[in-house]
Amino acid sequence: MRRQLEGSRAVAEAVRLCRPRVIAAYPITPQTHIVEHLSQMVADGELAAECINTESEFAAASVALGAVAAGARAYTASAAQGLLLMTEVLFNIAGLRLPVVMTCANRAVGAPINIFNDHQDSLSLRDAGWIQLYVESNQEAVDSMIQAYRIAEACELPVMVCMDGFFLTHTFEPVELPEQAQVDAWLPPLRFSRALDPVAPATLGGGSEPDNYLEYRRAQHQALDHAADEIVSTAAAFQSTFGRTHGALIDGYRLDDAERVLITLGSVMGAVRDTVDALRERGERVGALKLRCVRPFPAAGLVHALRGARRVAVLEKAISAGAGGIIAAELRAAMHAAGIALPVDGFVGGLGGRDLTPASIEAVFAASAAAGPAPIGCQFVDVDAADEAARPGE
């Protein structure tokens, strides 16, 4: 059914359709509405789940961990400081290979404290061992949530669905919600093979030593590598059942003859598409590419998709301070490894909720039009020029 819903509500509806038995969360803007909606569903008897309102995000992730270890499908959500407070547990969930699914309502990380959107929180956790999917719209958030459980449970890996705080979580827009029966057929109940069980009392989370830890980590890495296939096949299966797709690992837009391509993540992609259309109308051979899946990093897919491009700009809402854009660096490495000399301009913008306007996006395209090698590091989008000389304490 197609409904006009707030993004948080839409996600909550998607979570409900997936029938988690345990939901654990701690409130943090802009994640709160999701959990509030789920709590109301449980209170109204529309969702048979245990809502565990924990005393911290650290505990919320831990509750989800315990629930899945005990064989229940579980859900949690957080953002920013909360996500970072979960960090230790998120690594642990991944190491335990537990199919936990969570939403990250992406938000900037303080200091300075800032409740608005960027991707610093989840991208900082790119090494945690989670599959990370970044969505462009609330429809994609809904569909990705349903896909996430299927991917997680098939791969025994956790999945984080990253949606932009406010830009998506607080935005009303139309979403098509699948029927419960459809989802039930597509997503069978969790049968977790390693669930804690007194009948078969196994040990989970035991120690390891130098002589086998490396093998654990290699196995985890390989599992994430292999998860790419599962993400692709799940997206295809979803499309054949529900009739929608948002891409799998990446989603190209007007790439066919594009000489210049802008790569980005999340909700800004919509404005990027509009901008590409506008520039195309002006005769510029530009295209765009949405990086839907950050982990596993689709290096081969990117190399293939960008084979015709002359220059690439990466516009990202996060920074590895002291190094520059994260995705830009990874893309450069992928291209280099593939033996392709493709200039990659790294742009960092939209941090802390600053709106990336159509004008900003056009400016990025313009800045990435030069010939010759791309500058190392990153360029900042819409930065206040008057602030250029500012020093701490001034």
Binding site: L65, A69, V89, G205, G206
Partner: protein
């Protein structure tokens, strides 16, 4: 599965790598076998986790999960929530050391209790961070030597007091919170069984000597634990919804020196006048416990003499582990 012993489950069995004479291994074996096989155990990081699981080998014979240091109570909350409403009668048990209880795990423990999860939290208290090499914790007693509270020209060991953990958890208005000791098995047994008859969050604080960290003979672990109780330094009490409902009377009162002298971690107190002053302080702490709980005059069903008694045929064992014993 290891089923060498027909009379106990050996929830924690042989081949673990605890130090010789480990009080925590002893305590966990008692608690595990008293609870029996129909339970899921969640363990905090710490000695108990490290020495029981090693390179794909586990000494546990019950379903057991370890996540990280601070979150055992929260993980258990999730396990318990996941099992709610399902067929199956298994119970949830959380195990942590004093670090995972008094310090880093306190917040999650508080949350677990406040939310009313049906789980028994067992703290095996060895009064310092032993796993990392004997650093002081919130449970380390006053004046004890650890590597981060060393005696020196300006120091007589730990400056601060041991947290009153029982009072902290009992303040959550919880169904059951009790202290127990490896040295008094019948009492420990009664408390575990009582805890398991109750529903909701329950807390059991088990005093578990550490020969390594406390610097005493491996063979003296039980003796040291017994003296901690008999001196009044570790009172054995029960609280229900915050009210004291059980006190183990001291059959005989021992001076704290009897306890302290057995342990190298208090050796510096016997050297000079500064140490002597701290000894009086420790005696005063024991006296305060005795006064607070009425350890000498409580009218209770049994005292340390009765609970510490040995008798022909034993003082009770464990639920039959499997068919062989029934």
């Amino acid at each position: 599965m290891d089923r060498r012993d027909p009379f106990r489950l050996n929830a924690l069995t042989s081949g673990h790598r605890a130090c010789s004479g480990c009080g925590q291994a002893m305590a966990a074996r008692m608690v595990g076998d008293l609870i029996g096989p129909d339970a899921i155990f969640v363990n905090a990081t710490g000695c108990l986790q490290v020495f029981t699981t090693h390179n794909a080998q586990s000494a546990w014979q019950v379903p057991w999960l370890h996540s990280v240091f601070a979150n055992a109570a929260a993980v258990a909350s999730g396990v318990e929530a996941a099992r709610r409403g399902l067929p199956g009668s298994e119970r949830v048990v959380v195990q942590a050391g004093d670090g995972g209880t008094f310090d880093i795990g306190l917040q999650c423990l508080s949350g677990m209790i406040e939310r009313g999860h049906d789980a028994l939290f067992v703290c095996y208290d060895n009064e310092a961070y032993m796993n990392t090499g004997v650093q002081r914790s919130g449970s380390t007693p006053h004046a004890a030597r650890t590597t981060t509270s060393p005696p020196g020209r300006l120091s007589e060991g730990k400056r601060h007091l041991k947290k009153d953990m029982l009072a902290i958890v009992a303040a959550h208005h919880m169904p059951y919170a009790a202290t127990a000791s490896v040295a008094f098995f019948p009492d420990l047994k009664a408390k575990v069984e009582k805890a398991m008859r109750l529903r909701g969050p329950r807390f059991l604080h088990v005093f578990s000597p550490c020969p390594l960290g406390w610097d005493h003979d491996a063979a003296a672990s039980v003796q040291v634990a017994r003296l901690a109780v008999e001196t009044g330094l570790f009172p054995l009490v029960e609280l229900e919804y915050g009210a004291v409902t059980g006190v183990m009377r001291l059959a005989q009162r021992r001076p704290v020196e009897d306890y302290l002298r057995l342990q190298g971690r208090f050796k510096h107190l016997f050297k000079d006048a500064h140490g002597a002053a701290e000894l009086r302080h420790l005696q005063a702490l024991a006296d305060a416990n005795i006064r607070r709980y009425g350890l000498l005059d409580a009218t209770t069903a049994w005292d340390t003499g009765e609970a510490g008694r040995a008798q022909r045929g034993g003082r009770g064992g464990y639920a039959p582990a499997h068919g062989a014993a029934s």
